[in-house]
């Protein structure tokens, strides 16, 4: 079970996800982010500090959302507050070349 909370700020959406993102739960996260995209908002900050575990199903979901957000330069999906473990996984998976990871929510939000 994921806990997903969202907040629409002036220039971006701030989403916080807590829990285990695996094949079972990744679709939930995908739906939450797609709802924002369907509403025409493509600038998203995802706070992942509460993610205890992220499988490649979760990563695949994020890549998918990232691609949709970045299309036609209309936005981005930024990650904030990744734990050292998650950061290492992103690094191993080569994802640091496509994802921007910010130390704090505020820095991520402030970059839009």
């Amino acid at each position: 079970m994921l806990e997903i909370t969202g907040q629409e700020l002036r220039r971006c959406d701030l989403v916080k996800v807590r829990g285990r993102v695996d094949s079972d739960t990744a679709p939930e996260l995908g739906r939450a982010l797609h709802d924002i995209i369907k509403a025409g908002r493509f600038k998203i900050v995802l706070n992942v500090s509460g993610v205890s575990f992220m499988s490649s199903a979760g990563l695949r979901q994020l890549i998918d959302i990232l691609k949709t957000c970045k299309r036609w330069n209309r936005g981005n999906l930024l990650l904030a507050e990744a734990s050292p473990k998650l950061y290492e996984v992103l690094e191993l998976a080569g994802l640091l070349s496509i994802f921007s990871v910010y130390k704090t929510e505020a820095e991520a939000v402030g970059s839009f």
């Binding site: 285990r20 695996d22 094949s23 079972d24 575990f53 499988s55 490649s56 199903a57 990563l59 695949r60 890549i63 998918d64 990232l66 691609k67 970045k70 473990k85 290492e88 996984v89 191993l92 998976a93 080569g94 070349s97 496509i98």
Partner: protein, 141 residues
Amino acid sequence: MTADASLKIAGLYQNLVKITDFVTKWARTARLNDRAMYAVQMSVDEACSNIIEHAYGGEGKGDIHLRCELLDAGLRVTIVDFGRPFNPQLVEAPNLRAPLEEWGAGGLGLFLMRQLMDEVSFSFKPGRNELVMLKKRTPPA
């Protein structure tokens, strides 16, 4: 010292938590550090997700057998399924330098398993697919 334990469980995504708990317990017994434990958790999660999705072609189609062995070197995890075999050689590693549009084509899961574990080997017998993974214990710094 060697010891081992096994778990037989239905191939359902909701069972991933129980599977993780099982390997975590043995990773801890094997005195793996936090990073190594996380590597095992991710790799086993990945392998079992692939079995459900690809070998069985969906949830509830077959069981997964797991076995954890404590070795002097670390932890060995064996995962068996009875679904469709595949040829791991044909799965290309993702191109980490590719432009964003080319990302997400697949192959990330196997690639991560190989990155995270010290050994990853598949063997296929008729009706029985076996994956053996080893994570070594790093001596405390």
